[in-house]
Symmetry: C2
DNA sequence: TAGATTGTTAATCGATTAACAATC
DNA sequence: TAGATTGTTAATCGATTAACAATC
């Protein structure tokens, strides 16, 4: 029913959310698309077009209420829902994710960490006892898991991409340096750090 | 002189690079844009257009030599240069970056870690002794630094965004959850993990 | 040579920007 | 009310896809 929103628009929404949170912190109550466009270095037209994909959040002659718009974008992004997140791979990256207080604030709740290394299993990370990957199947039966973060090496990621969907987990946040072959109803968001680094390298070579 | 390549194209280059590396590993010597398009789930036309921004790397009737094309893309991305990388913020994320062997393979050499926490300074991470942020100025005078990875919290990142350019460091790989206000000749590549997580949340809510 | 596949031009599609009537 | 600023339509710009002549 609802019209499909282009991914270009979706990619910009978290950025709006971030700037609006910043304005809130600074005690700013209202902002026009024109003012915001200067701060964010985009066109006012794009801001209005983007927002009007989801509804008319502004008011003629006034602009947008910062707090209200922030809340609306939060809703659009689904941040009013709670997401239970498990982390598969309790190395430094897994530990780093487990430690982000910010995530919890936005409804992403880390509920368990898993690893396949016997030297790591049983250790405590941020109050969590790292569980064996062999116990994942049972864990998933007894607990609601919304998102699995893949913070393990490529080879294990490929294996886990087979197992995890079978356990009813429908979303993967993938940090492994490979693309995953997944059933169509499983949602994946990739964070390819080495891609990012290569893009930086290109920019250095060619000057932005 | 050289025509400006759109960022959409640049974003795709590391992905090509990744797939070509994979094909090489599997011992595949040649590939047509059509075959590659099936593997990568893009159009053959786009592949040819993208590559021809940089030159004609293929051969009519034959396709592309995998190894050759891989090397060419590496050159385009500047991976044949060595980049000295320092990490500012030796928390879990900083440690995780310091530990990626892959980066070194592509010419990104971690050369030092810095932190402002006296409890962390002096500790050893992957063979590096974590240095005090107070020593960064001297370090930068005596050593070539191509990239500074920002793996510290937002507030420190804002402060460092002032200092780092003064030290002659021209590129920042930013993981802090904020945008940095930098001189125009300083190049920045942002990795906003929380943006990525919000996009995943949106996809979960709206089904891809 | 005949077949395959590129490099490149032309056509289409989608995203961004501009403009302005509606309205607070 | 007059001024400001949105929501939305129309115009432009750029990116993607299609088509095909060139050529290995």
């Amino acid at each position: 029913m609802s019209k499909i929103i282009s991914s270009a628009v979706i990619r910009r929404m978290p950025r709006y959310y971030r700037y609006l949170a910043d304005l809130m912190e600074r005690g700013i109550e209202r902002i026009s698309s024109n003012e915001l466009s200067h701060i964010m270095n985009v066109t006012a037209s794009q801001i209005r077009q983007d927002l009007n994909n989801f509804g008319g959040f502004g008011q003629q002659g006034y602009g947008y209420n910062v707090k209200e718009l922030h809340a609306e974008i939060g809703k659009i992004l689904g941040l009013d829902n709670t997401h239970n997140v498990i982390i598969i791979g309790a190395g430094n990256l897994g530990k780093a994710l487990a430690g982000y207080v910010q995530f919890e604030k936005r409804g992403f709740k880390i509920t368990a960490l898993f690893d396949n290394d016997p030297k790591i299993v049983g250790k405590s990370v941020r109050g969590f006892t790292v569980q064996s990957i062999d116990d994942l199947r049972d864990y998933a039966k007894e607990n609601k898991v919304d998102i699995a973060a893949f913070t393990m090496p490529k080879e294990h990621a490929l294996k886990m991409a087979e197992l995890v969907p079978q356990l009813g987990i429908k979303a993967i946040w993938n940090f492994a340096n490979t693309e995953l072959d997944l059933p169509r109803d499983v949602i994946v968001e990739n964070v390819h750090l080495s891609d990012s680094l290569m893009q930086l390298s290109y920019k250095i070579l060619n000057g932005e």
